[in-house]
Amino acid sequence: MDIFILSIVVLIYLLMVGYVGYVAWKRTKSADDYMVAGRKTHPYIMALSYGATFISTSAIVGFGGTAGVYGMGLLWLTFLNILVGIFIAFVFFGKRTRKMGHNMGALTFPEFLSRRFNSKFIQYFSGAVIFLGMPLYASVVLIGMARFVETTLQIDYNFALVGMALIVAVYVIFGGLRGVMYTDALQGTIMFFGMLFLLASTYWVLGGVVDANQALTNLINIVPASATAKATATGFTGWTSMPSLGSPFWWTLVSTLILGVGIGVLSQPQLAVRFMTVKSNRELNRAVLIGGIFIFMMTGTAFVVGALSNVYFFDTVGKLAIAVAGGNADKIIPTFIGGAMPLWFAYLFMITLLSAAMSTLSAQVHVQGTALGRDIYETVTSKTGGSSVMIARAGIAIAVIIAVILGFILPANIIAVGTAMWFSITAASFLSLYIFALFWKRSTKVGAIAGLLTGTFFSMFWILFGYQKSAAALGICQAITGNAVILTTAPWPTVDPIVIGLPLAFVVTVVVSLLTKPPAQEHMDLCFKGI
């Protein structure tokens, strides 16, 4: 750690954030000013604040490191992130969500689903899924920050984790920073150039795009077979080739990492809510352009650099990235940046990563607070205000504490898998419901509830009893059946819940909807007004 360089980088960063915050504050004297200023929000700011909420340490540190193990096949996730997470999300989901949300006066994602299907149950049930599941996602974002700080500043991980948690707590308690889209946009801009620098200098260090990729392609023939023996036995074939079709390695890459996150992004509650804060379709159209470039640069760079770090480490220390990182993929990106990039850049990158994690964490925590306060407590008791404030605050406190505790007890190599689990639970639970809410007027309340319950309970069941990674760690299946998972034959233990849960929920929603009475025409007219 070089205190002098670190201090200069931190100082410059704080000055920039302070200046942007000051400009934003000067422009908005009153709450009404804020409202007006918000309406004039440039699409650049909207897209980058969406991007900053979407992309966090999880994508860059967790999935970047995972690319060091799984190779460039992970680029299919970048492809889906752009095509599904930006293009389809903004153009097809965003516009309708905005209009319908306004028509129904829905303020949260569970409320959106609940009002569309006229069912309070949907609201508190969805709220409960979010409140119980989200700490896992928040925790892996926190772990990503702590790992980067641990490696860059060479301090103890537990110490880094507590430090990060304290910063998050202060940030959340003084929730005033939340929603300052200008600082989000500044962080997004710094991240964008940081990643551009990282991509360019990685290719530069390794002799250009073609040469570097070629070296990665050749690497599998050069490394001693023992170094990749374990991965090869499960289907790994190299960093620039897909794993053997149908092998456990292939299933994890394709079903969990690529599909889970690539498709699951559509039903992320903290992202869906953002669509309702856009003033017109034009803003969404423009945001597609900026968001597309931003996500391309963020995840594309992380995955390419993660995979290429193998070439760098093999050339310099004769080891693969995962070996240099001590077997923990979560430490590959921090170790690579610490080793291959100039020190000032490592510090700058650390600070921007921290701020990216902050914007994601604050959105997560906010959604958890509303899930407990508005979606569960108020819906169940029909009370508003007063005690609901206490409940929401307690919910936020509990959420942060659980996330920190999980940060201590979760094993290594967890960031990408933990993120993917959360995305696939939300996809199995909410996605079919959300799609039908937006696009199928014939879908009914009973059909929606049936789909919601099917998706949620199937994915929970599969996580406890079917999916090797989670079931073995939790040990419940072992205790009941004597086996780690119920179906031990390949590929079942490596098939992600989303692969079965989502189609199942989809079919159940359609079948039950067709068997039940169609919803009232007036309600449909209200929901679909102007669509």
Binding site: M35, K95, G176, V180, S241, R282, G292
Partner: protein, 68 residues
Amino acid sequence: MVLGIEDPWIWSAYIGCILAMLLCVVYGVVNWNKGAEDEEEQIKEEMEWHKKEKEMEEKELGLWDEEG
């Protein structure tokens, strides 16, 4: 062999990312000024929405915002 990558499944992902990004750029440029026909009404709707959200945050969550 494309860009030093042999497996067509991988280089197509590499190229696919670039094409998907270009799709977003082209879409954004073509529709840059479209979709704002009923902007006035939309702004009103969104202001209403935002006001309600703010009320919820203050009254139900006890959060306050520096934004104002």
